[in-house]
């Protein structure tokens, strides 16, 4: 960076930071940026530099630490450093925070996006009849709702496995949470 670089106002810096963050991809679902995923809660101009507030997805998600590092690297590379990342747990992240654009990108990537999550505080009874599924999950390839779940858990904490009974393609579903 040039020594003659003009100081930029906080507002512009924050806006620039948001643009940069929109290029930082989730390492496990690289179709989505951390902004699409809805985990960037705030970007705050502090005296010591930018503070980027992230809300983790799953308690044990191993991507959280990678994301923190990638965020700081991207901010540094854009000349917006120094910055630090803080984690904010409350309110808890929900898949409802994934943007409409993010859901579209998921579908294009071959992952069925999540439907609406249960409201916080709502009682969630145990369903004891296996086939009595909630809302059907549409196939991201052919759009058919004629699909079945193969596995409640998938390759990452946030996904389950499905297959389409029409086009016969297997696909992943981003679990509503």
């Amino acid at each position: 960076m040039s020594a003659l670089h003009m100081p930029i106002v906080d507002e512009a810096r924050v806006a620039h930071a948001w643009q940069v963050l929109d290029t930082v991809l989730d390492p496990e679902v690289p179709a989505l940026s951390v902004c699409d995923l809805g985990i960037v809660r705030e970007v705050l101009p502090r005296a010591q530099g930018l503070e980027i507030v992230l809300t983790p997805t799953y308690s044990g998600c191993p991507a959280t630490e990678v994301i923190e590092r990638s965020v700081l690297e991207a901010i540094d590379a854009a000349g917006l450093g120094p910055a630090r990342v803080t984690l904010r747990r409350a309110p808890a992240w929900t898949t409802d925070w994934i943007s409409a654009e993010g859901k579209r990108k998921l579908r294009d990537y071959g992952i069925a996006p999540p439907g609406a999550a249960a409201l916080p505080g709502a009682a969630v009874p145990i369903r004891l009849v296996r086939r009595q599924a909630a809302a059907p999950v549409a196939c991201p390839h052919c759009g058919s709702a004629h699909t079945e779940r193969l596995s409640a858990f998938g390759s990452t904490a946030c996904k389950s496995l499905y297959r389409c009974l029409d086009c016969r393609e297997p696909f992943e579903h981003f679990k509503p949470l």
Partner: protein
């Protein structure tokens, strides 16, 4: 060799460690299924649930360390305590057994943790409340998955049913410990940190009762045996699982990768 840390066994720290350790030790047991479950999907399920439980435990251990005030971090608390300073419910330290045993235990523990997290969402400790608000969603998913399997195996073939009945007879002996009242619980209840586990008893029996009924399994009579893991006095299995968990940090102090 790395020496053990000296834990301040104050009541609020013990209360949080009971929950953290119950998740941590169950996660270690679930990890033993990696590469051994009867189907790939269940292999993935067991380890996914372990990952959630480790995540929840890490957050709680961190908070317990802050409250304790001796600068112990999550790693020191996870790996450098002696056996008597672990406060998990005894049932999670029992060897993993067969698949029926593991899924029934998962259902019992997920039901317990779900009920605990529901109450902990209104903990007087804001950090604990935030951890609970996240963990509750994961616990519900775990409970649903485990309950599905209890029904499928209980109301299944002669073989699966007899395995489930054997698991039920073995695990039910460890239920009284879960809801035994004591001073640690009483203090947490009084301070608003969290519920006494005894308050969850009725809801736990109602939920487990509906799962067992659907599985056509009879709920065993309550055992007179009282296990004591929550007080730090463990079964003969605990030393072995800790040896496996801790040997790396003990042999290579502060080792990271």
């Amino acid at each position: 060799m790395q020496a053990s840390i000296e834990l301040d066994r104050r009541a609020d720290v013990q209360y949080l460690l009971r929950i953290a350790d119950t998740g941590l030790i169950l996660a270690q047991r679930l990890g033993e299924w990696c590469g051994h479950a009867p189907a790939l999907e269940e292999d993935i399920a067991m380890t996914n649930m372990a990952l959630d439980l480790v995540g929840q435990a890490r957050a709680l251990l961190t908070r317990a360390g802050q409250i304790e005030g001796r600068a112990h971090d999550e790693d020191q608390l996870a790996f450098l305590r002696d056996e008597r300073d672990y406060f998990n419910a005894t049932l999670v330290e029992l060897p993993r057994g067969d698949f029926a045993f593991s899924v029934l235990r998962n259902a019992m523990v997920a039901t317990l943790l779900k009920l605990l997290w529901e109450k902990l969402e209104s903990s007087s400790d804001a950090e604990v409340a935030a951890i609970a608000a996240k963990a509750i969603k994961e616990a519900r998913y775990h409970q649903q998955h485990a309950a599905d399997w209890v029904v499928r195996l209980g109301d299944g073939t002669d073989e699966s049913r007899s395995r489930m009945e054997a698991a039920l007879a073995q695990l039910w002996r460890y239920v009284p410990e879960l809801f035994a009242a004591d001073a640690i619980d009483e203090e947490a209840r009084a301070s608003g940190l969290g519920p006494a586990w005894s308050e969850l008893r009725e809801a736990w029996f109602a939920e487990m009762g509906s799962v067992l009924e659907e599985a056509t399994l009879a709920m065993p009579a309550e055992s007179a045996f009282m296990s004591t893991g929550k007080r730090g006095v463990h079964s003969e299995h605990m030393g072995y699982i800790l040896a496996e968990m801790q040997h790396l940090q003990r042999a290579y102090p502060g080792g990271v990768w």
